[in-house]
Subunit: 283 residues, 2 copies
DNA sequence: CGGCACCGGAAACAGCTGTTTCAAATGCAA
DNA sequence: TTGCATTTGAAACAGCTGTTTCCGGTGCCG
């Protein structure tokens, strides 16, 4: 059935039956298949040098009801995997795994896109030069906070995790000021007190690095550096893969700022481990 | 100057000045930055639930003359810095960030490649049907273990983390047998006792899901399912991004095996949260 | 030459898009 | 409360989009 094929295949299938002007449009479409959704019918006409009427007729002939249906079709193609034009075309079902992979990669791409303006370096510098660094992550964000602290602990001796058991966050913040830094993870499903926490940090003039998904944007104002990290996933759960990647970048960045100090520190830690024979030989 | 920044940065720069409804649109735009060119102003309005007037005003406020200019801007983004879905042809300077991205994506690809033979489903099934599930992660793997436990706790009531403070792992394993499962994270920099731990689990005939990087291959024999997950990174630290992705897949898979039960369980958790007013309103 | 089939653009037109205007709603201060 | 500023959507409107109709152009056959 025509109706089940994508537009590239439909064109391939009946290219010969098309009139010359229609072929010009068809060529243009095939050449821009991946961003077909970006153009409307008038633009297609203008860009391929034919009249709007011809475009309209072509769509009909390819089995679409009207140009709106083509638009819809093009978007669907965008969402599910890349639309390959040629007769080769799509391999079987894009498995659940492949779909998942696509999503993760998209998240990574988005993440890097937002970081391109230098805010990552700003955050790294803040951390590297801070007197004390307090890492906070509640609920789902706790494992992330923990991981960041582990990484940073190799670079700086003055990194704490909060809240420690039996302590309130207020106590953790006590004594901190403009020369310190709080790194706060605030991913989806925040506790009710989150806004107040941000406010409290702000009140004490402690520079805040806020790492969270888009839903925390409203708190971004209170932060010295706002690192937005996508966590959308095709599955039932959020995926913190991009967040882990961000943590790696952040820790690396903070370390890069004062390399010498760090190297010696890592060496020291490794030494301790080896002394205790805690480690397996790592290769 | 506003005029030289891309739309995402412009929004970030003055998000606070935007009115609530404008923020809704801004959120939507940020969430769909990569295919902004696909939507026209009316659709943006409809999809973010505001009037066309508001969208129009937002564009002005962001420094664009009209929606046509935004459209043009979006297309330029697509062509240049933009994340197009296709087979990644990275142009320009491969910045530190871009290099990092490449590495992470390679890790994800490798991960998915190893999972394609069905071992992921095997692991998920094991977990879904197990009597008790014990998740173990030491040292650097601890945050991962914690995260997996949090995810699984939504699907099954019988998931524990080990070792609990003040307990030895031996005690945690006590009473477990062939109908239970241990999920063990064993990423690089394992403790000296790791091999003994695997042996102990094996001795008790507890099915073992081992999640680790290639350096743990020597322990793979002792596992019912061996999930190898790459963590190599171009930076000084290992990156657990792929591991997080794997955890997501595993939790989802375990959930998929008995969907009904899980849905109700998550619903119940959400309900409790809402009752306690612990959550921010979730948009 | 006439008759015919097809092609394709110009133009008419109905419907949609995006901007601006206006008034209602809201919040805040006095 | 009143007065003022801000926010917002409804509605008006000008302009654009996409479909259809219409008509001139072209090629082919007899």
């Amino acid at each position: 059935m025509t109706d089940t094929m994508n537009i590239g295949q439909r064109i391939d299938g009946r290219y010969g039956e098309l009139s010359p002007q229609e072929q010009r449009v068809a060529d243009f479409i095939l050449d821009h298949l991946s961003d077909l959704a970006v153009y409307n019918a008038s633009e297609l006409a203008r860009l391929s040098g034919v009249s709007k009427a011809t475009v309209s007729r072509l769509f009909r002939r390819l089995g679409f009801q009207d140009s709106a249906e083509v638009r819809e079709h093009a978007r669907t193609l965008r969402r599910h995997g890349a639309p390959v034009g040629g007769p080769g075309a799509s391999a079987g079902t894009p498995s659940r795994l492949a779909t998942h992979l696509e999503g993760e990669q998209e998240n990574l791409r988005l993440l890097l896109h937002t970081l391109e303006d230098g805010r990552l370096d700003a955050a790294a510098r803040l951390i590297a030069h801070a007197g004390n660094v307090v890492v906070i992550g509640l609920r789902g964000s706790y494992p992330l906070a923990l991981h960041l602290r582990q990484q940073l602990a190799q670079a700086c001796a003055n990194v704490r995790l909060a809240p420690l058991p039996g302590q309130s966050i207020g106590e953790d913040l006590a004594g901190l000021g403009p020369h310190d830094v709080v790194v706060l993870f605030g991913f989806r499903r925040r506790t009710a007190g989150f806004g107040q926490l941000v406010a409290a940090i702000q009140r004490r003039r402690i520079p805040l690095v806020l790492i969270a998904d888009a839903s925390a944007r409203r708190h971004a104002d209170g932060a010295a550096v706002w690192l937005e990290c996508p966590i959308d996933s095709d599955s039932a759960f959020d995926s913190y893969a991009a967040a882990m990647s961000l943590i790696n970048l952040l820790a690396t960045g903070a370390m890069g700022v004062h390399v010498r100090e760090t190297r010696t520190r890592i060496a020291a830690i490794t030494q301790v481990y080896e002394d205790l024979e805690e480690l397996e030989v790592p290769w």
